[in-house]
């Protein structure tokens, strides 16, 4: 009998031991459980989860002109580049439904960033950590989300127009990370309001400095705000925030002392003092055949050959391919890194300049332009710019933006926002594989189409005209 009791005792012990459902309340490593604030720090450290922005706009810009038959045939030699040629030729369909490339990776990558941000913004507050840490991390996510929406609204929606912004369709404004919400497009005004609200909410909690440009700091948020207000043509606010950014980050890389650029004498993107928030276009570097950016003659004339940006950041075609001609954008290969598309110090300076020009303050406008230009020429070649009147000053500022930001989407954004201003109105044309494409002022083609694939899954997502 004694033995039996022992057996029962043993069995009971086994049952109790194994019956405890706490036994399975453990977490498997490798899957971070969202209850520790530090885990969101790790999430925000994931550069590729936040750094990518759209690259469609880069090809549509008037700074590039691919007119070599060799490059045209290479680009049309495979369907893969149809996103490039579709954007370059201002097509109304870029991702044909039914083709292998029906997904709009630009749209998807920006919304992937939005998902990451929303996850942090909404799940982080419930985690275990100090309020200060939580606020700081949420603030970073808000800046990234604002940048993603600014990119989206400037790619897939009409340029901001005060009169119609509240009715013009913007993009779906997802603020929570559920996968079942309807995807109706919010108005352009709502998207911009959200961007401004996100950035201003974030500002008090952002650090003055961060270890890397990939992590948002106060200057990043000011930069985004300046850029945002510029797109809204609210030059007063744009100037105000550009000033705030410049107070924190005034430094500009001095190209006047460089004979050549390479990885050892040009700062890395993530440490570059000029960059307020590092953002790179999808697909990265476009400096190799066949996607290398051939610069248009009109732009090269504008740039001139004395400019250090010509000397250091452009290259003869032979470097790219034996069969290409002309001159190519080369900054990425020269500095060994993908071009930055996030807000920068020169951008703040030129926003400042534009605001002065718009306000009629010619001398101050040119002061800011020249502040930048002095760093862009060899001392022997530098001549300070002057302007005859406010309009001339404005043209000079816009031209300077082209010279400073060529190869990035900012030129396309400028074309969009300026295409209804008579001073800048122009019909652009492209000749590609024997066909001619035109982009008249106020054309619907200033807005990229929404991929039909997305509309097939969610028909409430309205197409652009």
């Amino acid at each position: 009998m004694k033995l039996k009791y022992k057996v029962y005792g043993f069995l009971f012990a086994t049952a109790v031991l194994s019956g405890c459902k706490k036994y399975v309340d453990i977490k498997t490593q490798g899957n971070l459980v969202p209850n520790q604030t530090i885990n969101y720090r790790y999430l925000l450290n994931n550069t590729s989860g936040f750094e990518y922005v759209a690259n469609l706009a880069d090809f549509a810009s008037s700074d590039i002109n691919i007119n070599d038959a060799a490059q045209q045939s290479s680009l049309s030699g495979t369907q893969f580049y149809s996103y490039f040629t579709g954007s370059y030729n201002w097509q109304s369909v870029i991702y044909p439904l039914g083709s292998t490339y029906e997904q709009d990776r630009n749209w998807n990558i920006l919304y992937a960033t939005v998902l990451n941000c929303n996850t942090i913004i909404n799940e982080l507050p419930a985690s275990n950590g100090t309020q200060a840490d939580k606020d700081a991390l949420v603030a970073e996510a808000l800046v990234h989300r604002a940048d993603a929406y600014l990119n989206l609204v400037n790619t897939y929606a009409k340029p901001y127009n005060t009169a119609t912004a509240s009715t013009d369709p913007g993009v779906p404004l997802l603020l929570v990370q559920t996968v079942s919400q309807p995807l109706n497009r919010a108005s352009v005004q709502s998207v911009y309001s959200q961007i401004i609200s996100d950035l201003t909410t974030a500002l008090p909690f952002l650090p003055i400095t961060q270890a890397f440009n990939t992590l948002p700091s106060k200057a990043s948020a000011y930069g985004e705000l300046a850029r945002c207000y510029l797109m809204m043509k609210d030059f007063v606010n744009a100037a105000k925030f550009a000033d705030e950014a410049l107070k924190l980050r005034p430094a500009v890389n001095d190209l006047s002392v460089l004979a050549t650029v390479n990885t050892s004498n040009y700062p890395r993107r993530i440490l570059d003092p000029e960059i307020l928030l590092s953002k790179v276009p999808l697909d990265g570097t476009m400096a190799y055949s066949p996607t290398a950016f051939k610069l248009s003659d009109e732009f090269l004339t504008l740039l001139g050959t004395k400019d250090q940006r010509y000397t250091l950041f452009t290259t003869p075609a032979a470097t790219i391919s034996a069969t290409f001609t002309g001159r190519y954008f080369y900054k990425e290969r020269a500095i060994g890194e993908t071009r930055n598309e996030g807000p920068s110090v020169p951008e703040m300076m030129l926003i400042r300049a534009e605001a002065y020009a718009r306000a009629g303050d010619v001398s101050n406008a040119l002061l800011w332009v020249n502040n930048l230009r002095v760093k862009r020429f060899l001392p022997a070649d530098y001549v300070a710019l002057t302007a005859t009147d406010a309009n001339d000053a404005l043209v000079k500022v816009i031209d300077e933006r082209r010279k400073e930001f060529f190869g990035t989407m900012l030129r396309w954004w400028d074309m969009r926002r300026l295409n209804n201003e008579t001073l800048f109105q122009k019909t652009y044309t492209r000749a590609f594989n024997g066909a001619t494409y035109t982009l008249p002022p106020n054309s619907n083609r200033y807005v990229f189409p929404i991929a039909e694939y997305l509309r097939q899954l969610n028909p409430e997502l309205a197409q652009n005209p």
Binding site: V7, L11, T14, A15, S18, G19, K21, Y23, V24, D25, I26, K27, T28, Q29, G30, N31, V33, N39, Y42, L43, N45, N46, T47, S48, E51, S74, G77, T78, Q79, F80, Y81, L97, G98, S99, Q103, W107, N108, Y111, A112, V114, L115, N116, T119, L174, T178, V179, L183, A211, T214, N262, T263, S289, P290, A322, G336, E337, L454, L457, N458, L461
Partner: protein, 1194 residues
């Protein structure tokens, strides 16, 4: 929710316990028959009694009398009051006689008796009984016909008894063996008798089934389960059990996709994989087809009662006593969430009590020729050269330029052709080089230097036996294997120590200790590395060794013209040499696995017993790869991290000094345990009611850890390496800086499971059985919403033994006939899905070096088990004394809540989402038939046939046709109403004038490559990728001691796409040389479309055109085949005529992989080996292998 559910299970257990106790109290003084009492004593003390039935009949004793402290006391209490005596015969064997019987009235040794009684009228007979292999058989009942005199054989099979003069024959009977009657005369003194097992084809042979938790008599098991015995496994002499079970079970499909036996192409456990990783390119296995779309598809493996996470190659096949395959819900649902794929239950051998040591030794050796490289349908050198010239002429390859840095490498002829074009070589020199190249066929060199005839050997040793209260089975085996890839080797050592102990005379403690130790060496150069299409494909004119006998090197990373200029600047030689790589490889892996089981069984009371079970399985893997400074890996890395100098010599930025190398280590560590408490009840009431119940609870933990690190500048002599910084990028040759790979990581994944289970069966009159099982599982990663995991998995079944009905009793030709019907639900899990936002931790951010994480999938609070509902109807039959026997099963499977990723709008942040979203239905049937065609003493023919049919259908309307489907129909997602492995293809309409593939649309119009297809009618459903009909056929012919056996496997009804050109080079993909022979037939100029279907290489839509060609109806081939898997000849050596020392010996010769007896395709392709040149593991059909084996038993 869990609380609510767990409570009833506790109550149930408590009720069972209390029932057990109270039953015992009420039964204290119950009278039981003496026969029953003896049975209990026999069971309790593991003794055997021999007695005449008549002397115990009608006699009773009390249960109380059995509560004795010793066997002697129990027997005295039970027998003396009934006027019976017991005589000691040998250890564990007693004879019971009536007190009146004068013959055996003294408890003496038989030998003494013999000495005393020689003058009597009776005559004395002694001898020995052995089994078919000559091993002594203890406990055999020996009975004479003249008197009721009985005896039993002792531990050495020896027996002795006195017979009256009237006796003319004595009968030897033993469970599992045919009763043997032998005529005796007064002069017979010494007999040597060998018993033969009950006929091999008899169903009685497969009379128990183990489900891992309990062993059930086959006649009381309602489920579709099949047990394979050791002697069936012995027919195929491979060191891995996988090849041995290939043809044995209907419905089990084993795909052998390489002829490596245990040296797999991938021997590494992937810690982050949700499914099986080890050996996936060498074999796969499924029971009754697919039940999941994204979960694990491999059956659950249970070894000696515990779920094993180890590969089957860790098991020494010679240790296996039996393998049960649990196929339907009633058989498998006791395993709950892991049972949907079926369960394989392996039980290892045990010793027997009271048995002298049995020693067995075997050696097997096999050799096979090199595989035939010609099976890879490649272009000749001349065809390759013409192709390259065409690529250059059509500008599909950009000009390599020695002046440009970082140009892609090109093949030799391409290079020459460009040089000719540029005028840097003369036409004469060019023509000379081309004619030299055209004459080369390097495949012979490749075969000679990189392949070899494969061979393997196995040595196996085992000893088993037992004493009064314990038994043992110990074995050790060593195998080694040299597969056909030169430089790859594998060795395996296994040790098994199985013991059973009787504790305090009532409890049983079983221990299993197993160890398996592997050592692998892996070649650094596989065929795949040479031929997989790339810029550096090994062209048919490329040589390993040139005409002068020198090893030839090739440029791999960059264009050779540019690379050649680097060495003078201080760079290391940047050429790749295949044979040097082979010589310098130092790539080894050790893997040690241990597993140990403790199973304590305590009989509580009549019918009740309790089990405590503990299993621990540990594995330690270590693989190292040392790249010395001669290896390409090392030189490539150093050069890559050497910035181009403006002046002076280049210096590598990591600071690696000469004399050192790079060592990469990978450590894998597994530790899994199971702890189980179980109550068993097995009893018969009033003879007609038989009840078996088990109930238990189980906890299980799996732990898998993997650590990886690299040591740069490692010196083998000193053991010291250079410290490097993984997060500060080092300058590279390309001008920018990059981080070094190989920063140390250590991952550890612990998963826990908690289960409650119960299984019950009730049999009435031995004819009608009703069974049921229920199981509830809890898993730590299915943790947020408990309502989804509280659903129990259950099954129920009925069985009717028709042959026991009176109306069939007269039909003597029916030996057995059973009908079975079951229904239930099995589960499946995913270890990579989580209910919360799945944030995966990365090592370090590539850009900033900071620790990072990423959102892998959004939260899925509704995550739950996959469920498969299975209904099964079966019949087991045996006719004409079981000379014809078989089983037939028909089943349906309905999968619900299966994991699948459906596309969602990218606006949500991800483009697809895995959810418990889809359903699948399947059905099939299985049939096995065994027959003894001819049976006589000297001559015997036995044949067996297995047949299975299985199909499935996706039943989810969301699997609709969409654009993704039309762009890749053959490999695309599922389609509602079609099987999961459907193959949809385009209707080929030949080539257009530009050499691009056209296909027909739904209206029969020709569609060009740049037009999209929008209707399913434009496609053809070609069939299924996996054969719906498959099985095996075996037959064996025995003449005296010589047995000839043949095993064939077959499959019908599948299709496959003929491997063809994988890709043409384009400006975007860069240089890439595919060598498939179809390239030689491609369209090259206008007019070719009249003579070929193979599309040309140029044009915007060349890639789409090629894809449509690859996936068009003209490339669909039938996968039907009949394969002669094995022919074997075995001979039982007549050792008994030579020596007494050796009990039995046999010699076997077998030939495996004899190839296809018949195939439906005319292209000479083996449907099991259809991977093209692009496959990650290039598999060549197995060459014929010759095996020799010798078995000796002492």
């Amino acid at each position: 929710m869990t609380k609510n559910f767990t409570k009833p299970i506790y109550y149930l257990m408590m009720v069972l316990l209390v029932a057990g106790l109270s039953f015992q109290v009420s039964a204290q003084d119950k009278r039981i028959t003496l026969e029953e009492a003896l049975n209990q004593i026999s069971k309790k003390y593991k003794t055997k009694f021999a007695y005449e039935h008549g002397i115990v009949q009608g006699k009773f004793t009390t249960l109380e009398s059995l509560k004795a402290r010793s066997l002697d006391e129990a027997l005295k209490r039970a027998l003396y009051s009934n006027n019976l005596l017991f005589l000691y015969v040998s250890e564990g064997n007693y004879t019971i006689v009536s007190r009146d019987e004068k013959l055996f009235n003294q408890n003496r040794e038989p030998a003494q008796i013999a000495a005393d009684r020689t003058d009597n009228n009776d005559f004395y007979l002694m001898g020995q009984v052995s089994d078919e292999n000559g091993n002594p058989l203890p406990g055999v009942t020996i009975k004479s016909n003249g008197s009721n005199r009985v005896s039993t054989s002792d531990g050495n099979g020896k027996f002795s008894l006195f017979l009256s003069k009237e006796s003319t024959s004595i009968a030897f009977s033993y469970v599992g063996y045919q009763t043997n009657s032998i005529a005796v005369t007064n002069n017979t003194r010494n007999l040597s008798v060998a018993l033969t097992p009950a006929s091999a084809s008899q169903l009685a042979d497969v009379n128990i089934v183990s489900n891992g938790y309990q062993v059930l008599p086959k006649e009381r098991s309602t489920g579709a389960a099949l047990e394979i015995k050791a002697k069936d496994l012995e027919k195929i002499p491979t060191p891995n059990i996988i090849q041995r079970i290939e043809s044995l079970v209907p419905g089990l499909k084993v795909n052998l996709t390489s002829d490596n036996l245990f040296t797999y192409n991938n021997t590494q456990v992937g810690i982050n994989s949700g499914t099986r990783t080890l050996g996936t390119s060498d074999y796969s296995m499924s029971i009754r087809g697919t039940s999941t779309l994204r979960g694990e598809t491999f059956p659950l493996v249970v070894i000696d009662g515990a779920i094993s996470e180890l590969d089957l190659s860790t098991i020494n096949p010679n240790d296996v006593a039996s393998i049960s395959f649990l196929k339907d819900a009633a058989a498998a649902s006791i395993w709950g969430t892991r049972a949907a794929n079926g369960v394989i239950v392996i039980t290892t051998k045990k010793g027997s009590q009271n048995q002298a040591p049995k020693i067995s030794f075997s050696v097997t050796a096999a050799v096979a020729n090199r595989p035939n490289l010609g099976y890879l349908k490649m272009m000749s050198a001349a065809q390759t050269i013409a192709y390259e010239q065409d690529l250059v002429a059509k500008n599909l390859i950009t000009t390599p330029n020695a002046a440009t840095a970082f140009g892609q490498p090109v093949a030799d002829v391409t290079d020459l052709t460009f040089k000719l074009k540029a005028g840097s070589i003369t036409q004469v020199a060019y023509d000379a080089a081309i004619s030299r190249y055209s004459a080369i066929d390097s495949r012979e060199q490749v075969s000679d230097y990189l392949l070899r005839p494969s061979n393997n050997q196995q040595y196996n040793f085992s000893v088993s036996g037992g004493g009064k209260s314990s038994d043992y089975f110990y074995s050790a085996s060593y195998s080694n294997e040299s597969p056909y890839t030169r430089g790859t080797e594998g060795q395996r050592l296994t040790v098994t120590l199985n013991n059973n102990f009787k504790l305090f005379k009532i409890a049983t403690l079983s221990t299993n200790i197993k160890g398996s130790f592997f050592k692998y060496k892996t070649s650094s150069v596989g065929l795949n590395a040479l031929y997989s299409p790339s810029a550096t494909t090994f062209m048919p004119y490329n040589q390993l060794i040139d005409e002068q006998g020198n090893r030839v090197s090739y440029s791999r990373q960059y264009y050779s013209g540019w690379v050649n200029t680097l060495q003078s600047k201080g760079y290391l030689n940047w050429k790749y040499n295949v044979l040097d790589e082979l010589d310098n490889a130092d790539n080894s892996q050790n893997e040690n696995n241990y597993s140990f089981n403790l199973n304590l069984n305590v009989p509580v009371f009549k019918g009740f017993s309790a089990n405590a079970f503990f299993n621990n399985e540990r594995s330690f893997g270590y693989s190292k790869n040392y790249y010395n400074e001669q290896t390409y890996y090392y030189r490539n890395l150093v050069n890559g991290f050497t910035p181009q100098p403006t002046t002076g010599n280049a210096v590598n930025s990591i600071g690696l000094s000469p004399g050192s190398g790079i060592l990469t280590n990978l450590n894998t560590r597994g530790n899994n345990y199971t702890l189980r408490g179980q109550l068993n009840y097995d009893n018969t009431f009033k003879e007609n009611h038989q009840v078996t119940v088990i109930a238990g609870t189980e906890i299980r933990q799996t732990q898998l850890g993997q650590g990886v690190n690299s040591l740069y500048g490692y010196n083998t002599g000193t053991g010291i390496s250079r410290s490097v910084n993984y997060f500060t990028p080092y300058p590279t040759i390309q001008g920018f800086s990059t981080s070094l790979s190989g920063s140390p990581t250590q991952q550890d994944k612990t998963r826990r499971y908690l289960s409650y289970y119960s299984n019950a069966a009730y049999t009435y009159q031995g004819k009608y059985t009703l069974s049921g099982s229920v199981r509830y599982d809890d898993y730590n990663n299915f943790g947020v919403d408990r309502k989804y995991r509280a659903t129990p998995l259950w099954s129920t079944g009925v069985k009717w033994d028709v042959s026991k009905e009176s109306f069939l009793k007269k039909q003597s030709w029916i030996s057995s006939l059973n009908l079975r019907a079951t229904y239930g639900v099995n589960g499946n899990i995913s270890t990579t899905l989580f209910p919360f936002t799945y944030i995966g931790l990365g090592s370090a951010d590539l850009t900033t070096g900071l620790p990072n994480a990423s959102v892998i999938s959004p939260a899925n609070p509704e995550l739950r088990w996959e469920k498969t509902y299975v209904a099964n109807l079966g019949v087991d039959f045996g006719f004409i004394n079981n000379r014809i026997s078989g089983t037939f099963d028909i089943y349906t499977k309905r999968g619900k809540d299966l994991f699948y990723e459906f596309p969602i709008n990218g606006t949500y942040g991800v483009t697809s989402l895995i959810r418990n979203s889809t359903s699948l239905s399947g059905h099939g049937l299985e049939f096995s038939l065994n027959g003894a065609v001819l049976r006589s003493n000297d001559f015997e023919i036995n044949s067996g046939l297995n047949f299975a049919y299985n199909t499935n259908e996706v039943t989810d309307t969301r699997f609709a046709l969409n654009s993704t489907f039309f762009s890749n129909p053959a490999y695309s997602v599922n389609l509602n109403g079609y099987p999961t492995d459907k193959v949809m293809v385009y209707k080929n309409a030949g080539l257009d004038a530009t050499g691009l593939t056209q296909v027909y649309d739904e209206k029969g119009n020709k569609i060009a490559a740049n037009q999209n297809i929008t209707s399913v009618d434009a496609l053809i459903y070609a069939g299924r990728r996996n054969a719906p009909y498959f099985g095996s056929f075996n037959t064996s012919v025995r003449y005296k001691k010589l047995t000839l056996m043949a095993i064939a496997t077959y499959q019908f009804g599948s299709v496959f796409l003929r491997p063809t050109i994988s890709a043409y080079p384009t400006a975007r993909t860069g240089v890439k040389y595919d060598l498939h022979e179809d390239i030689a037939k491609r369209w090259t100029k206008a007019g070719d479309e009249a003579i070929t279907n193979v599309p040309g290489a140029a044009g915007t839509f060349a890639a789409q055109s090629l894809l449509r060609y690859q996936q068009s109806d003209i490339n669909v081939l039938k996968g039907d085949y009949i394969r002669l898997r094995e022919l074997s000849l075995s001979y039982q050596l007549p050792v008994e005529q030579v020596t007494k020392f050796v009990k039995a010996a046999s010699f076997g010769f077998s030939v495996r992989n004899l190839g296809l007896l018949w195939r439906a395709n005319k292209e000479g392709l083996d449907p099991d080996f259809i991977s093209g040149l692009t496959a990650t593991t290039l598999s060549l059909p197995s060459a014929v292998s010759y095996n020799f084996s010798l078995n000796v038993n002492f």
